[in-house]
Subunit: 195 residues, 2 copies
DNA sequence: GTCTATAGTGAGATAGAC
DNA sequence: GTCTATCTCACTATAGAC
């Protein structure tokens, strides 16, 4: 029975954590692999032992974050008599996650415009994350609870609204616990889709 | 009376045009000043004669584009009896501009996440561009035509919706002339703000 | 797995002739 | 204003010892 007590976890995780912080503060391009390694208290050779390239590190970080987020916002049985209420719970969970993981959220925004990761790669990860969202929307349309607009457009719109609202609260943390703002953000989202 | 007939305009404009195309295709960081100069058929020394630095070029390009856009979406006398119709005209003009100037639109998206330009600089330019939008919203609230949510949140939301929709149409040009999609995009936007 | 040292590349920017 | 030539530097990635 081997019990590993690594205060600084393994160096790989240290590198991922450090990279996240630096990427968000300086941008991905502006953050050198050397600075990631140095800040993490690790040699550059070690970084390239764990990740074949800088972009591989970026991609792994991105996948990890998206996966964590998806777990947090897990869907459940849909109920046509309470769809708005259910949507509200998911929305508030998503905003809460973004607030509690502001660095992760901002990194995702950076990755969206980071061209070395192909659009296909990102679209695939996005589809995984938002698969359940599509289910909810189709369900709502079938029960005539939300508008019958093209589903791809509605998905994009919903994603955009989430990014906008979460960014707003991250940039104005003092308003994030203000019920008035929280309610307004959800209503701006939900009203879009009403018939 | 001096009439200057410069086929390739002046070299400065050539550099700006070339930079825009390269930035959108490869990203801002991934585009070297050397490649901009070469593609524009100009020497690197000439580039740095017109722009003190790469970021100065980026900034000037950004300012020019935002100014052009603002001119296109010029506001007019607001009419409380026709606010939705007026909003629709502005929205469709904005989407049309984005479609006719897809490179410009995508460049603005890149700049949003380009950290060498300070957030303040960008916020200032944004405020100029969207000043009239705030007027419209306040007007709508005063006449109880749109919801009474906090104005900063509504502005961010409106901006996000515009970015989302214009990106969607740029990525799916065949749908941009489909009235069903066009109507849906505006409704998704406008419904947000209804009371 | 981790380190030190460094190879190799390409970037932004400048000098100075024309 | 425009050019050629070049400086200087920082970056990604590798080699090879431990």
């Amino acid at each position: 029975m081997s019990v590993t007590i690594n205060q600084p976890k393994n160096k790989k995780q240290q590198l991922l954590d450090t990279a996240l912080a630096l990427f968000v503060n300086q941008g991905i391009y502006a953050t050198s692999t050397a600075s990631i390694a140095k800040t993490a208290g690790v040699a550059t050779g070690t970084l390239f032992h764990h990740f074949p390239s800088k972009d591989a590190l970026v991609l792994e970080l991105y996948k990890n974050i998206k996966q964590e987020f998806a777990l947090q916002i897990a869907p459940f049985e849909l109920d046509a008599t309470q769809l708005e209420q259910q949507a509200k719970v998911i929305w508030q969970q998503a905003i809460d996650w973004a607030l509690a993981n502001a660095e992760q959220q901002q990194f995702c925004l950076l990755v969206m415009q980071y061209q070395p990761l192909s659009a296909n790669t990102k679209a695939q990860i996005f589809a995984d994350e938002f698969g359940f969202l599509k289910e909810i929307m189709l369900f709502g349309q079938q029960h005539q609870l939300i508008a019958n607009y093209p589903i791809e457009l509605m998905l994009e719109s919903a994603h955009g609204q989430f990014l906008t609202s979460s960014q707003f609260f991250i940039n104005n943390t003092e308003l994030a616990q203000d019920a008035k703002y929280r309610e307004a953000a959800f209503n701006l989202f939900w009203q879009s889709f009403t018939r």
